[in-house]
């Protein structure tokens, strides 16, 4: 009985028909803070006007040339006294995002409606508050090897720190988890929240993502030769890497159809089972994630009005994602990456893609692939180079892609309820 302890259970029956569990989950409030600005308004305007938030690198400790998507004002944020122990760039960025678009009030209303113990919290991050530990290592005492007395690991750097901070800050006591699957983290929070709601563990959920600039990711991606020293240009023939950005955002999910709210129509998740830091060469995992999202949403590819690509602007990502896109969509549906606006916000990329998708539907807006001059002849998807050049009468249903290290893939479909 090594390992297996089931006894004589017959080999299980295959059940490949997935339930359409996401159909009745509504997105009732949302906000995002990126290099384009804090809250929906500056993000909406920059996307409409095709204006980048990327700037020539000026981040502390970075000694190589690149562009970054830094959020202004993060260091001016002061956390409430009760949460002072959580003070780090990542939690300050989360706090800045929370202060926008009436999200505090919307969460208070949610608590009244459902009770604080019936609201789940699902947050994606890749590096949490690691910058705090970077600073502590830089000040390490040479005689004793000890980290400085001000260093508080559990409330800042620990993977769970953003969730503990938000639980305390918002007075929540429902189910809670951090998802850390690299660059797909805050797309997968939608799937986990939907499952917890489906299982009856909560009636509503706050999903979100927060990832902040730090030396670890900038030097790490640079060591992998994936960072561009110019403005990133997704799908361009001359693309040569990413610009790293930071972002935070939140979406409130509620069970059932809520008036005037968009719906979470489908989520697809898959693994590449290929390589730790390169995508599957034919984009097999990406195909599975997109197809599973379509199946769960009970939609045909032609019904997707726009796809927000992962589109990091590395040579390999954009090529393999295009192969996957051509397999699923045959090159017809309009699509673009918004990394040229915000940079690649890593563990927050999923929530940025999700909130941008909501904006595109609300504003009937299709963003261009910013900074892209000449599309690579090996890329065949219908990538938008001019604003609203492909706009149908209405943008109702949008897909957003996220693919991460470790071959972790997620596709979301958000739209007007069908």
């Amino acid at each position: 009985m090594k390992g297996g302890i089931a006894g004589s259970v017959p080999f299980r029956q295959k059940n490949l028909i997935k339930q359409q569990m996401n159909k009745n989950i509504s997105l009732t409030a949302f906000t995002v803070t990126t290099a384009l600005g804090a809250g929906l308004s500056p993000n909406r305007e920059a996307l409409k006007q095709s204006r980048t938030g990327l700037k020539k690198n000026g981040f502390a400790g970075i000694e190589f040339d690149t562009y970054i998507g830094q959020v202004d004002g993060v260091d001016d944020v002061i956390l409430p006294e009760e949460q002072a122990d959580f003070n780090c760039r990542n939690n300050r960025l989360a706090e800045l995002s929370l202060r926008q678009d009436g999200i505090f009030d919307a969460i208070d209303e949610l608590k009244v409606r459902y009770g604080a113990n019936r609201i789940g919290l699902f947050i994606g991050t890749s590096t949490s508050g690691i910058q705090q530990t970077e600073m502590a290592y830089a000040m390490r005492a040479s005689e004793t090897d000890e980290l400085p007395a001000w260093f508080k690991y559990e409330t800042t750097h620990d993977v769970f720190s953003p969730a503990t901070f938000l639980v305390n800050r918002l007075g929540l006591c429902g189910p809670s988890q951090i998802i850390s699957t690299a660059c797909s983290s805050s797309a997968r929070v939608f799937a986990a929240a939907a499952r917890h709601i489906h299982a009856g563990l909560c009636d509503a959920a706050i999903v979100g993502g927060v990832d902040s600039l730090c030396q670890t990711t900038l030097y790490g991606f640079n060591a992998l030769q994936l960072v561009s020293n110019k403005l990133c240009c997704p799908a361009d023939v001359d693309r040569d890497g990413i610009n790293i950005g930071e972002a935070a955002g939140f979406v409130l999910l509620e069970k059932g159809h809520q008036e005037n709210a968009l719906s979470l129509l489908g989520v697809g998740e898959s693994s590449d089972a290929w390589h730790m830091s390169s995508p599957h060469p034919q984009g097999e995992g990406a195909v599975q994630a997109m197809q599973q999202a379509l199946t769960r949403a009970n939609l045909e590819p032609a019904q997707i009005d726009y796809i927000n690509l992962h589109g990091t602007a590395t040579p390999v990502n954009d090529f393999t994602e295009d192969q996957a896109m051509m397999t699923v969509f045959s090159g017809n549906n309009p699509c673009s990456s918004t990394k040229g606006f915000t940079g690649h916000t890593l563990g927050a990329a999923g929530i940025v893609g999700a909130v941008f998708s909501c904006l595109f539907i609300e504003e009937n807006l299709l963003p261009i692939s910013l900074n892209t001059q000449r599309i690579d002849s090996k890329i065949h998807s219908n990538i938008m180079l001019e604003a609203n050049s492909e706009t149908k009468s209405e943008i109702d249903i949008v897909m957003s892609n996220c693919f991460g290290f470790g071959g972790s893939n997620a596709s979301l479909i958000i739209g007007r309820p069908t």
Partner: protein, 267 residues
């Protein structure tokens, strides 16, 4: 919530190299020392070359996972329906230590391999590569409640899609400089294969509002182990599995909440 079946267990802890030896030790009620030698981690699912490139955290998670899947009669590792949940409170702090030490050196020469191994989902990535399965894996954290959060995530996946889920809960020993700040004093890993069908062992869980005082181990050595690592919170469940005892257990989850787990041994 729905009752699910347990179809396999994997275990790695000080002095315990697999569930077979852990089960015998837990059932015997014999003396246990937390200072027992930690088994050599040599998961066969990784090639020798890969094993050299990976870290103790990755090897710990994979060794537990493959122990639970050894001699499986219910589901194979490459089954496209088998998803996995990797739950770990602190990630790979040894890799963090190496990267952050490098960042204090001239030129900050971060190793690309260290960097891609540093992501919280590195064990999940290596597991999917080793198993060849493109089924989804997730990687989560929930502090001291990481075992409970992992169990809830796994059960919600079974409820949603009616497929088996392999749950792996683990935390490695942090490097000395961080140990003071994250008190995980021994490495520990457990894997539990959960299936929608009825097996000999059924479990169901509910969230309990209010601080649920958690189930403890009577054996002082095992109780020290339970308190030494968030993943080891599972020990009361493992002991009752080893003793073939139906029981109701409490586990820490989040502040103001606990998890109540009912284990039933089906005859």
């Amino acid at each position: 919530m729905k009752t699910v079946g347990i179809a396999g267990i994997g275990l790695v802890a000080p002095g315990i190299e697999c569930w077979d030896s852990g089960r015998d030790l837990l059932a015997s009620g014999g003396h246990y020392e937390i200072s027992a030698e930690f088994p050599v981690l040599r998961p066969s699912s990784l090639s020798g070359n890969e094993r050299r490139r990976t870290t103790d955290t990755i090897k710990l998670a994979l060794q537990c996972a493959q122990d639970a899947m050894a001699d499986q009669s219910v589901v194979g590792v490459s089954d496209p329906e088998l998803t996995s949940v990797f739950a770990c409170s602190s990630g790979d702090l040894n890799i963090v230590d190496r990267i952050l030490s490098t960042l204090t050196m001239p030129g900050k020469p971060v190793s690309p391999t260290h960097f891609h191994n540093s992501v919280h989902n590195a064990p999940a990535g290596y597991w999917s590569i080793a198993s060849g399965s493109q089924a989804p894996t997730t990687s989560i954290a929930a502090g001291e409640g990481t075992f409970s959060a992992g169990l809830l995530e796994a059960i919600t996946q079974i409820l949603a899609d009616d497929h088996p889920v392999l749950l792996i809960v683990y935390d490695a020993l942090p490097p000395a400089v961080l140990l003071k700040h994250r008190k995980i004093t021994v490495a520990f890993g457990v894997a539990i294969l959960l299936v929608p069908e009825k097996t000999k062992y059924s479990l169901s869980v509910i969230i309990h509002d209010g601080e649920a005082c958690c189930s403890k181990m009577i054996n002082p050595g095992f109780e020290r182990l339970r308190q030494a690592n968030p993943a080891a919170q599972c020990l009361p469940l493992l002991q009752n599995l080893a003793l073939q005892q139906s029981t109701s257990l409490k586990f820490p989850y989040l502040q103001g909440q606990g998890l109540v787990l009912d284990l039933t041994i089906n005859e």
